[in-house]
């Protein structure tokens, strides 16, 4: 099922004071994959995403995207290459409405400056509404972002990433904080949308249920290293992984 090589990370190292957050991380991602990253807290999962998106610069190692080196590039440049990111802690524009939030992202994607047309009169408006409907946040479209409850904020955060129409989408615990009643429904539609658009995705996740359902592959982080990497069935069955991450239900 997995197509051409998309992203290739190798030998990533970074430490903060004493903490080793990445210690020779290497991971390859092929088109069409949906890779779940699991691992104990503080293992370095977010750090990995931070490196891939240019927020942190590793002491060593490289990340190639379609053969292009990403290390040293700014988050902006990397985003322009088609890599979008959703955050563990939602990053929204607090004082603008949810619809505006998403439309801004869409406009950024379209490179639309249009100094004299209203944002909500541009085609981006419809894009925004479509996306909000997808993650079923249409009801809060007119709320200012800071008014939203945590769960909704997470979803809107994902919508912003989607609005960039990325080739590769990196999501940091996309549905943590989203009520379990919606969780699955949302992730379901989300993954379908990604498939439909042919978007490859990586998502950090602590909910094994999610992992088993939606990941095509699982990578297990543990104190800055990749402890295990493979198809969900195998990896989640690995006693070591069960001991360090999953625990006995």
């Amino acid at each position: 099922m997995s197509g051409a090589m998309l992203l290739e990370a190798s030998g990533l190292e970074i430490r903060f004071g004493g903490v080793v957050a990445a210690d020779g991380i290497g991971l390859t991602i092929a088109e069409g994959e949906h890779i779940a990253i699991i691992g104990p807290n503080g293992a370095g999962k977010t750090t990995f995403l931070n490196i891939c998106t240019g927020y942190l610069k590793p002491r060593a190692g490289s990340v190639r995207y379609r053969g292009r080196e990403l290390i040293g590039k700014s988050p902006r440049a990397i985003t322009r290459l088609g890599i979008a990111r959703a955050f563990q802690i939602p990053q929204l524009f607090a004082q603008q409405t949810v619809r505006e939030n998403v439309a801004i992202a869409a406009a950024a994607r379209a490179g639309r400056i249009a100094p004299f047309t209203r944002l909500l009169a541009t085609p981006e408006r419809d894009k925004a509404d479509a996306l909000l409907a997808l993650i079923d946040c249409a009801d809060v479209a007119d709320r200012e972002a800071h008014e939203l409850p945590e769960g909704k904020r997470k979803l809107v955060d994902i919508a912003l990433a989607l609005a960039l129409e990325p080739e590769l989408l990196l999501m940091d615990e996309p549905t943590s904080g989203v009520a379990s009643s919606e969780k699955f429904a949302v992730m379901e539609t989300l993954i379908r949308a990604l498939e439909a658009r042919g978007v490859t995705s990586v998502f950090v996740e602590h909910d094994m249920e999610m992992v088993t359902r939606y990941a095509t592959r699982v990578a297990v982080w543990s104190s800055g290293q990749i402890q295990r990497d493979g198809p969900p069935a195998e990896v989640l069955a690995d006693p070591e992984v069960i001991r360090t991450v999953i625990g006995t239900a």
Binding site: Q91, Q95, F116
Partner: protein, 330 residues
């Protein structure tokens, strides 16, 4: 409100000179000074307070002075664009540097630059006329030399027209995609980066525009007063501009006009009637506005037309605030 109120005000102001003249000079100043305020409002959208826009005001003013002194009789129609351009160039030069900074650093760097200009204007007595300033001769308009009365009338019209154009343009601009990006910088710059957009360049673009607005204002004031002095660039001037922006209300471009109007009138009446107390009067008025009308005079009008649930800072306060410093934190 831009639809109803704006045209109404314009119409009223446009016919005024035909019914009465005594406030023509004061109103001209009001219009001219509303321009830099508009520039301030622009930057406030991105959460940035410039404490140095007097710099560009002064650049505009002195450009007029220098050209008229050293080049000779240049026509107003040429002078204004010239001064605006000069301010724009200055804005670019300073902007490239300051847009890298935020909050107090942004505010203070702007202040620093304007104070540097201020000191230079003061020090280079033989070029700039020093503290006493530079006289600005009265230029021709479309080739005609005019006496004071005519010229003041013309200037009234010109300032009003320019201001109206600027207000309309900025209003559009702020609601446009790039305008919204600007506002986004205020609450979450990191995310803007992650949208593939450069906050700095966006800010720079608007910075230059605001500088040009300030410059135009300075130019108009200078020809009107026939004078350009270093304290055009002094920090309290910049403070005044921010002051007026808040007084009028930074939430809407009309705030610039309303604020400038209120400010100049309060000032001249205070000067006339409470004499030594004019400063205090202004201060008290401002306090009252901020405490009881945080979104400025314009907010009063605006409030009526606003849907509930979108209340600004005041209302959504608690969470709004914690949200804000959450944003600083996350």
């Amino acid at each position: 409100m831009m639809r109803i109120l704006f045209p109404a005000i314009l119409a009223a102001l446009a016919v005024y000179p035909f019914v009465g003249t005594s406030y023509v000079p004061l109103l001209t100043i009001v219009f001219a000074k509303a321009l830099p305020v508009l520039g301030i409002i622009l930057l406030l959208q991105a959460g940035q307070v410039s404490f140095g826009h007097a710099l560009f005001f002064a650049v505009g003013a002195y450009t007029m002075g220098f050209v008229l002194r050293d080049v000779g009789a240049v026509d107003l129609v040429l002078l204004l664009p010239l001064a605006t351009l000069a301010a724009g160039v200055a804005g670019l030069a300073v902007g490239v540097f300051v847009v890298r900074y935020r909050y107090i650093f942004f505010a203070m760097l702007n202040l620093a630059f304007s104070m540097v200009l201020y000191s230079l204007l003061e020090k280079f007595f033989h070029i700039t006329g020093g503290t006493d300033g530079l006289r600005v001769a009265r230029p021709t308009v479309l080739g005609l030399a005019m006496d004071r009365a005519e010229f003041e009338l013309v200037l009234y019209g010109v300032s009003l027209a320019l201001l109206a154009a600027a207000l309309a343009a900025v209003h559009r601009l702020l609601d446009s995609p790039i305008g919204h990006t600007l506002k986004a910088i205020k609450t979450n710059e990191t995310r803007v980066e992650y949208l593939g957009v450069s906050p700095r360049r966006t800010l720079l673009a608007f910075y230059v525009i605001s500088a040009m607005l300030a410059g135009l204002g300075g130019a108009l004031v200078a020809v009107f007063q026939g004078l350009a002095t270093p304290d055009y660039a002094y920090w309290t001037r910049s403070g005044e501009m921010v002051f007026v922006a808040i007084l009028g209300g930074a939430g809407n471009v009309l705030g610039a006009l309303v604020g400038s109007f209120a400010f100049e009138f309060i000032r001249s009446f205070a000067a006339a009637y409470v004499g030594d107390y004019w400063q205090m009067t202004l201060g008290v008025v401002l306090l009252v506005i901020i405490l009881f009308q945080p979104d400025g005079l314009i907010g009063l009008v605006q409030r009526l037309g606003r849907r509930p649930g979108r209340g600004r800072a005041g209302a959504a306060g608690e969470r709004g605030r914690s949200e804000r410093n959450a944003m600083e934190r996350v």
